[in-house]
Amino acid sequence: MNFSDSNGTRNTAGALMERQAVPRTPVSSTGNRLYAQQKRRRARPGQSFFQSVKSALQAVRANKLRSLLTSLGIIIGVGAVIMVVSISESQSAAINQSLSNLNPNELTIRSGTTNTGGVRGGQGSRQTLKQSDADAISQQVPHVTSVSPIANANGQVIFQNQNWSPQQIQGVYPSYLQLGGWQMQEGSFIAPSDLQSSTAVAVIGQTVVTNLFTPLGIDPLGQQIRIRNVPFTVVGVLAAKGSSGSFNDPDDVVYIPFSTAQQRLTGSLYASSIALLVDDQSNLINVEDSTQQLLEQLHNISNPANDDFTIQNQAQILQTRQSVVQALGTLLIGVAAISLLVGGIGIMNIMLVSVTERTREIGIRMAIGARSGDVMSQFLIEAFVLSAMGGLVGIILGSAGAFIISQMNGSSFVLSPVAVLLAFGFSAAVGVIFGFYPAQRAARLDPIVALRTQ
């Protein structure tokens, strides 16, 4: 009775022979003890976690398409989170940067009513500010060093065969050079005489130069450009302030005399807003108050609640913008969280299908000695591996998307490690939470029934 074949090594078969040779103690109580010994000997470590992950990966690989579809929800959810967080962080960074560029002494008066929380309502639908308001402020309010009404226009600017739509085309007073904190690179800013005679002259920012003149290699000074088909002569080029984020490029501007803008471009008697500069920051509140009183008086408003204008300082404007970006980010993270949830349900769904499909496999595993706990952890780990892999792919895709978008906008690429860790942790947790029910179903299968399943 030689169990070991040709080589005769001590192996499976050797052990089997030993089983034969060892004289057996009688059954019953000794049997119990014997079992206890064997049990102790088999105080089994079971499948190690590493081993389980390995076999889970095997199972994932065996069902490539299904695995991909399962993780898709997680991939999209995590990708969206990463992308949104990355973009909103780079925007926040841009806003913070422009905050530091700001002139804290500047005030802006806008027409229209306001709602609470700084959200402007009805602006544009109701124009109330006039050039005379600006002149009155400049004459009557103390501590105001310069004032300019602003007429916003928009449209295409054309030079020869080049065209460009600047973010801002504004009609302003000559004092706006100081107000906007601009330096001239060449030429001169709008002169008071231009304002009086409504000359068709324009001062352009660096971004406009880059887009209209650089391709042709022509010096813009003295050239004729057309704004909405009205010809203007370029009399000055502004020095660059520096780009700070895509949506707020300060150099993407064209300034023309206020009167010219009113007559040739907007055709409106009103100003979009009025900018003014206060001599010292300590007088800001005073100036705000007296400007408000003056305008109420001019507009015949007795109750401040009915004010048809808003006074904001620049910091407030940027804070508003900041909070909009944050609110948008929060909203999108909410959407991403929902898609992660949906992804989790997708995992649960597919895992349930997988448990049903693999009922016989579960039966086989139980027959050869898998405990319920082994089956449970197998499916849990599979769900974990699926969602963790989905999370990794999502992080890669999300970062790539954020990177591409930042390249397109010319904004900076920020990848928050907190967001990455959170997204990954969240997706892994989703896998475990939503994998729990299917895993439990698998673990509770009766091996006899499971084996009979086809």
């Binding site: 089983r19 049997g31 006899i448």
Partner: protein
């Protein structure tokens, strides 16, 4: 673990023999269906010694499958005692039974029951994985087991790349890799043609000749003819327990040119 030696001796009238692989005493099984109790096994007494090769036969409805499930520790008896390889398993929890299945029982099924996406050796390793055997040792023991069923060269093939007979041999390797107390084969040749059936029986006989206890559940007399002992079940009772004085030798049959046997 309430088992008492005296009770046992009184019941059998014999001192417990050290050579029993399986010992069933007054084993009963019934199923509860709503208000009805459906008795399936009416008190089975059976001893199978180590190294025996026993065929368990019986028509459908005889309780054959139920008995096999209990022998395989997949199910628990309602009453009575089952001692497997010296261990009283009838009172064990399902969790403990999972360990017993892993340690002491090697299953061979009619439908092979291999995991399709694993290689042959992966399938054979599986029970050792659950036993917590380290990787190196696992591979070594699995390939030994595959050699024992003459499939050493096919270790890295997946089940779909193997014939039915080869798949069943992989299943046998998986059953014996843990050196169990017995191999429990449920219609192991049911899905195979007669030529391949003889091959499988030859392997089982070879294992048996080296000391492995084999319990074969079948309804085919041709297959039972390879076993030295035949136990027949009817209506939940053992109605025949006989020794086959001249079991067929599969190895010898294989040496002969194709024998005409019953169809698949």
């Amino acid at each position: 673990m309430e088992y008492k030696e005296q009770e046992m001796s009184r019941a059998t009238g014999v001192a417990s023999a050290p050579t029993s692989a399986i010992r069933l005493r007054k084993l009963k099984k019934h199923y509860v269906m709503g208000r009805n109790i459906l008795p399936v096994l009416h008190g089975i007494d059976l001893d199978i010694k180590r190294g025996e090769m026993v065929a368990i036969m019986g028509p459908s409805g005889s309780g054959k499958s139920t008995l096999m499930n209990i022998l395989g520790c997949l199910d628990r008896p309602s009453q009575g005692h089952y001692i497997l390889d010296g261990v009283p398993v009838s009172e064990m929890s399902m969790r403990e039974l999972a360990d017993i299945r892993n340690q002491k029982i090697g299953f061979v099924f009619q439908g092979f029951h291999l995991l399709q996406w694993m290689t042959a050796i992966g399938n054979v390793e599986l029970p050792l994985l659950y036993a917590g055997v380290p990787t190196e040792q696992r591979r070594e023991r699995a390939s030994q087991a595959l050699k024992l069923v003459n499939l050493g060269s096919r270790a890295d093939h997946r089940p779909v790349e193997l014939s039915g007979g080869q798949q069943q041999r992989v299943a046998i390797a998986r059953a014996l890799v843990t050196t169990p107390a017995m191999i429990l084969a449920d219609e192991p040749t049911g899905n195979l043609d007669s030529r391949t059936s003889i091959e499988i029986m030859a392997i089982l006989q070879k294992l048996n000749s080296r000391g492995m206890t084999i319990v074969l559940v079948t309804h085919e007399p041709d297959i039972a003819a390879y076993c030295l002992r035949k136990v027949v079940l009817r209506d939940g009772r053992i109605v025949e327990d006989s020794i086959n004085p001249e079991p067929m030798i599969a190895q010898a049959q294989m040496a002969q040119p194709a024998v005409e046997k019953k169809g698949t």
